[in-house]
Amino acid sequence: MSPKTLYDKIWDAHVVSEDADGTCLLYIDRHLVHEVTSPQAFEGLRMSGRKVRAPEKTIAVPDHNVPTTLDRDNADTMNEDSRIQVAALDKNAKEFGVHYYPVSDVRQGIVHIVGPEQGWTLPGMTVVCGDSHTATHGAFGSLAHGIGTSEVEHVLATQTLIQKKSKNMKVEITGKLRPGVTAKDITLSVIGATGTGGGTGYVIEYCGEAIRDLSMEGRMTVCNMAIEGGARAGLIAPDETTFNYVKGRPHAPKGAQFEAALDWWKTLYSDDDAHWDKVITIKGEDIAPVVTWGTSPEDVLPIDAVVPAPESFKGGKVDAARRSIEYMGLTPGQKLSDIEIDTVFIGSCTNGRIEDLRAAAAILKGKKIKDGMRAMVVPGSGLVRAQAEEEGLADIFKEAGFEWRLAGCSMCLAMNPDQLAEGERCASTSNRNFEGRQGYKGRTHLVSPAMAAAAAVTGKLTDVREMM
């Protein structure tokens, strides 16, 4: 048998049929659904008299629009359009009989946090969602990627997706990370090295000692941003860390079935002599805590660097960098650690898990946020929130001056009322720093949770290593 990558193995196990030109019908094991990209798909089913083929493999949760303030059960806190969209999901979930976690359920949260938490995401699966950060689930060694609404309808109706295979890319992070460096710094640094188009046409497998050493939470952070690097999906081979995380989750297999699953999961790794179309290697010890300075996730630099000069780039990037720097209100040559911020957002499917809150709380313990700072923590799910309260993290955040919110996407994309005002500047643990992403003319610097916490205290982008 010819050697295969992990991606090859999962792909091969899910091909329903293949046309002569290589177009495949791929079977989908898990379909996650949220309120923004699904209404038109359900409507399409209704109009053509179709059903959801596998409602037991379909999981719906509202997250993008929902308010995260404590009074959210009071529908007045949602604007009319948001309310219609969430109500449409309620109705569609019930009518089509899919698994559903409504806003009132403690298990509700960001779809990419709920899936793994509930054991819906398992190694070797194909997982899709009408959301580009579906890549997150690749941390389990599952093939997981975002799809458009037409494809959502296609998966609902057929439980398959029409796909052509991508190429294989290996991103190896060797050795150990230095103190203060986290999974977020790894994934941002990779994008800094490859560019936002560097992964286009590829599925990335992250490997190497620094990746192996990460917890499942950290691995999810890394895979989450594979899409910012342009890749169709990112994945990490499952190992004991993965199996231990999965075991005992509500929808994970139990007993003899778990053992049978384990036997298969243990075969899910790239063979030694597998073929890679592209390989990137980064030394773990070369990675520093990083921040973004511009409006593309590839605009990444170590915290001790300065804002670059647009002329230092090539081609179309010169203009893009000039536009970014202007939008961000920065000056070339300015030290990144001199940039003052007024808002801190800790949350999102990139960094809204328990470990992220622990990392931020470790920095904040016994400290206060800077006067005038608006700082909020939005846990990724109701269960993350409950656990953080139990561990005493919520108290640390509150005593430091953070708002302690309910679960949702919140200021990651600001579809709910959590937004930046014009000119406000935010250190954010989310994944996108596009123009207007967190609010019209708002300015976003992407950072790790520990770096966000440090910035909340000092009021500037700050090297977290100075506070450890």
């Binding site: 580009s132 990037k317 994309l413 123009e435």
Partner: protein, 201 residues
Amino acid sequence: MEKFEKVSGIAAPMPLVNIDTDMIIPKEFLKTIKRSGLGVHAFDEMRYDRQGNEIPDFVLNKPQYRDASIIVAGDNFGCGSSREHAPWALADFGIKVIVSTSFADIFYNNCFKNGMLPIVLPQEQVDVLMKDAEKGANARMEVDLEAQTISTSDGEVFSFDIDPFKKHCLIEGLDDIGLTLEKVSAIDTFETAAAQARPWV
């Protein structure tokens, strides 16, 4: 879906690299539960000021480009989210063809589901088309999907590659779901076998 044949139209130059889906359609317009009507909001934050007035400098606001049906764009067009609202907005505006050196993967696929043709060409050729597009309304480009060519207003012709299946679907205006449901017995067979091999799924 409407059949895609030939397009002859005005091309708007958008040389900026990494035009992302938030630029194409900002999130406040994602709250619709319909597919149509998004064209007026395409490129909203670049196209209008906060009071809703048009920003005259923006390419699609210039008289010569208001009827553009082609966009010639910088590298990595459509990066960012999976929102199909981006191609819906462009299609609703009247865009039929987008040319760039590269596209984000999900956006690229989404175009075909909405009867739009994304064309990938090497940098030198995109540069030529960009120059041609800058000539304004006098420069009509011709796209022939059957022949897989795009020609400038001066008659310079470039060939492009396209996946044969995607081409076929676009030309015939075929609906993917209908096509897949013709293979329903293969899906049934796969599902039965998979349930045996991986009963925990």
